[in-house]
Symmetry: none
Subunit: 141 residues, 4 copies
């Protein structure tokens, strides 16, 4: 019941947000299936070495958003039908992220081609989590 999550206690983004995004990410890549249990607030807190209140904050937001559901007295689970993020918001997010990257790339002195190549590489490189999951599946099918 441990999550493939790591958190950086220094600076941006805030820890609660790192946890929130991390869980969303694990769901997006399929590492956390609908209906699957997530660790208790306390367990995850000791695991990540952060304050339980911080984990609670992230869980609360995820619950409010309908991504997680609490079964009282039982535990917390990924929702059976996690809500889809509205298309408009999704493209806005994407555009902002792209802009941040573009500024960073120009400041780093990269050419258009170098920048694009770096992005392609980052997109193609299967995430550690995904590979880890496939590995696990092979072991415990």
């Amino acid at each position: 019941m441990t999550l493939r999550l790591r958190v950086d206690p220094s600076s941006e983004p805030p820890i609660w947000r790192q946890i929130e995004d991390g869980v969303r990410h694990l769901i997006a890549i399929g590492a956390l299936a609908p209906g699957a249990p997530v660790p208790s607030v306390r367990a995850l807190a000791t695991d990540l070495v952060v304050n339980p209140a911080t984990v609670a904050r992230a869980y609360q937001r995820l619950t409010d958003a309908g991504v997680l559901v609490v079964r009282r007295g039982d535990g917390t689970y990924v929702a059976e039908k996690p809500p889809v993020v509205p298309r408009a918001e999704r493209t806005r997010t994407l555009r902002e992220a792209a802009h941040r990257f573009a500024v960073a790339a120009v400041n780093a002195g990269a050419t258009r081609e170098e920048a694009l190549a770096a992005v392609e590489q980052a997109l193609d490189q299967p995430s550690r989590e995904k590979r880890a999951k496939e590995h696990e599946e092979r072991r415990t099918p």
Copy 2:
């Protein structure tokens, strides 16, 4: 002696960082040549409608980094030889930025093609300054 710089005071990133990055950016695209003067702390502050201390903070970081040089009691100038960021570090920065973008794109549920399109668009965007500079050069060759 006015700079093609605008800042968003509603923070995130902080104003001083927006100024720092902005100046670096203007140098990177050639809108600010080595040896060229930059506006005085006070001038830029009134121009951007921020506190002089905020501009001073940005300028000082740039000076510490060797991007700007101060001639005491005279003014501040772009360094004749702005420090070249070591190639290794540059590609590392680029790779990290690309990775951050890739994660954001995956979380936003974007496909590989959507992600790349967004980046291409963002890269073609911030040429406002460049076009402005080329225009100026055509006028006063």
Copy 3:
């Protein structure tokens, strides 16, 4: 959580620099171990009778340099692995400092022997902190 630090507010060098150098010095002599907490900005400020912003400035420079790390909302700590200054740069710094001293000594009309004696005396001087630390260790082993 009080630091063996004193500053001279009559400037030269500026207070924030005195604090920065002081912390570096305490780490260098081992009075501040890796991972150890440093006083909060406010605590040190009241202790030194200076404005919190002044301490914050010093701490932030040290954080930027990787000497200190911030745990958000928690506190500030000495980095586990304080950055090693590259050997080349270290000897360069040392050589420059030595050269500055040599010039000053010549200007003061000192002989070679007088100059060396002054340096030996100065080197044996700032062991106040070290002795204090050893004393503490003997008390609480």
Copy 4:
């Protein structure tokens, strides 16, 4: 009538002080003999690429101290009998310089031996000015 002087227009110490110390230094090492002429304020200013008022300030201080003398309508000269700096002040200066060096050395992570070696080397290395002067003397005895 050009002086072996260079100044750094950035930061500490102030330019006028660099000039003042520089002239004192040239006299101390014998590169400027008693009675020898020094360049005019204007000439030195254009030579060093600084504001004439800055050179004037240095010359004024040196004149006040009796190190230089003005012969009206003629020029400025090194005093025939440059005043000796009081012994007490000299040793104070030396001690301060030694202390600054010691702090810098410790912060640079140098051992006592390394620090002393660096100073010895700096003291033994005949200054560029001295060598230059000897060379000149051989050419025009």
